[in-house]
């Protein structure tokens, strides 16, 4: 594991058990700490999977609603990170399967470059290196979005979120070998897409 993925996983320690116990009791202060600890992780994963900021915010809200409802059942002896990853991933998969998402996809062509103006304005104010990095990130995100949803899930969970194939297999209901194969296919496809665009 390397780079940002490793940092995303190892850079923040799980909340202490006593805080999680208070989360179970829905104490506001503990809920606040829980939120601060995990909101970026959840949003970041969801954003990479969906490639749309508004959708990612809505799904993040959905995830935290589920967490709030299920708080009394939280296992305080374990890091809730994997649990949240599962909830977030399933919320994205539910969205992909939903009529609302299919409708949105149909109308996406009209809104595809809605962030262009914002990007251009921002690029005028930032140093060239940052602008290039931001543009590169946009291209990569677009390529991820062009992968079929199961392949997108495989590659984002493994290389961005830092899960191993066994964890992904459990999360997606696939066999271990199938999860690895899917990841391999996803990486191959992404490699082709990025080769064309990141010359």
């Amino acid at each position: 594991m390397s780079g940002s993925a490793a940092a995303r996983r190892a850079g923040s320690d799980p909340l202490p058990r006593e805080v999680l116990e208070r989360v179970r009791a829905r104490e506001p202060e503990a809920l606040g700490a829980f939120f601060e600890r995990y909101v970026d992780q959840v949003f970041s994963l969801v954003y990479r999977l969906l490639g749309d900021r508004t959708l990612a915010e809505d799904v993040t809200q959905e995830v935290f609603l589920k967490v709030h409802r299920a708080a009394p059942q939280l296992d305080a002896s374990r890091d809730p990170g994997p649990w949240l990853t599962t909830i977030a991933t399933n919320a994205c998969r539910d969205l992909w399967r939903s009529g609302a998402h299919r409708l949105r996809k149909k109308s996406d062509s009209l809104e595809d470059d809605s962030g262009l103006a914002e990007r251009l304005t921002r690029q005028q104010d930032e140093p060239e290196g940052e602008a290039i990095a931001r543009e590169r990130e946009r291209i990569v995100q677009q390529a991820i979005g062009e992968l079929p949803e199961p392949l997108r899930l495989a590659v984002v969970l493994h290389d961005y979120q830092g899960l191993d194939h066994l964890e992904i297999a459990r999360l997606t209901g696939l066999g271990h070998a199938a999860a690895r194969k899917r990841y391999s296919r996803a990486l191959e496809k992404l490699g082709v897409l990025l080769k064309e665009r990141l010359r």
Binding site: S4, A5, D40, L55, D58, Q61, L103
Partner: protein
């Protein structure tokens, strides 16, 4: 969470340069942060519990017309509409009064209707009604292309449902007294017509014949084609060929099989000829 050292499967084939590059690019992607306003609002709702009563995100809600219930409802409505259309289209042409001879009062399901009131009489001739024809009056009723029936004077009998075009291709009439003459049309092909009297049951699949219900028994005369005739319960059904008759007695005497009656020899072909225009 675990690291890749836990992966029990052997490593896959070496990654290509493109795959390696894609992987490193992906791993180097920065964390995406939510907008500050969203973050702040969501935190407030999560901490206070207001998130439980917050309206569901608009992008995640499915318009009512895309919900599974609406889809099932639409499917059910479409299926019901299709069923109605098919049922309507399946119906044979309505009964028409093609001729009325003589004057008198016809009683249809207890409603007395003078024979001069042809339109009113025709309006009452619905499938299943019971028709009482007085002495001196004869009616000819037809469902175009399917079936024509002649009610002779003094007949009391029900009007059957004309067989459907594709399904429900069977019809049943009951004769209490008197004589009915039948002739079938091209659209009747494959359908089945049954006529019941006190003592007999007649089954036809397309032909010209007469059923005469008298105090002594029931006589079935076949001019064209073949019909099956037996007792009312459908026992002892036997085929009666063209030009023949079968008589079932009310007093239990053995059935009589003989040539068809002279009267029917004359009347059935005339009836068929009169109706031929409507039975094509």
């Amino acid at each position: 969470m675990s690291d890749r050292a836990r992966d029990p499967l052997p490593p896959d084939e070496p990654l290509t340069a493109d795959m390696e590059r894609a992987r490193e690019t992906l791993r180097a992607l920065p964390a995406a942060a939510p907008r500050a306003a969203f973050r702040s609002r969501l935190r407030q709702e999560f901490v206070t519990g207001a998130i439980e009563s917050a309206p569901p995100p608009r992008t995640l809600s499915i318009p009512w017309y895309r919900t599974s219930m609406a889809r099932w409802g639409a499917t059910a409505v479409a299926a019901a509409a299709a069923l109605v259309v098919v049922s309507v289209m399946n119906q044979a042409p309505a009964w028409k009064l093609s001729d009325v001879r003589g004057e008198g009062i016809v009683v249809v399901d207890g409603v007395p209707i003078p024979t001069q009131h042809v339109e009113e009489l025709e309006q009452h001739l619905k499938p299943g009604v019971f028709v009482q024809v007085p002495d001196g009056v004869e009616l000819e009723i037809a469902s175009a292309g399917e079936l024509a029936i002649e009610y002779t004077a003094g007949t009391e009998a029900s009007l059957p449902q004309a067989p459907g075009r594709w399904f429900q291709r069977h019809a049943l009439a009951e004769v209490r007294v008197g004589e009915l003459r039948f002739t079938t049309g091209s659209a009747f092909h494959g359908a089945r017509l049954a006529i019941e009297t006190h003592e007999a049951r007649v089954e036809a699949t397309g032909t010209t014949f007469a059923v005469i219900c008298e105090p002594t028994g029931t006589c079935v005369c076949v001019y064209e084609g073949r019909v099956r005739v037996g007792t009312r319960g459908g026992v002892g059904m036997a085929m009666v060929e063209a030009g023949r008759r079968r008589y079932l007695f009310t007093d239990g005497r053995p059935d009589e099989n003989a040539e068809m009656r002279d009267t029917e020899h004359a009347e059935l072909p005339r009836f068929k000829a009169r109706m031929s225009g409507m039975m094509k």
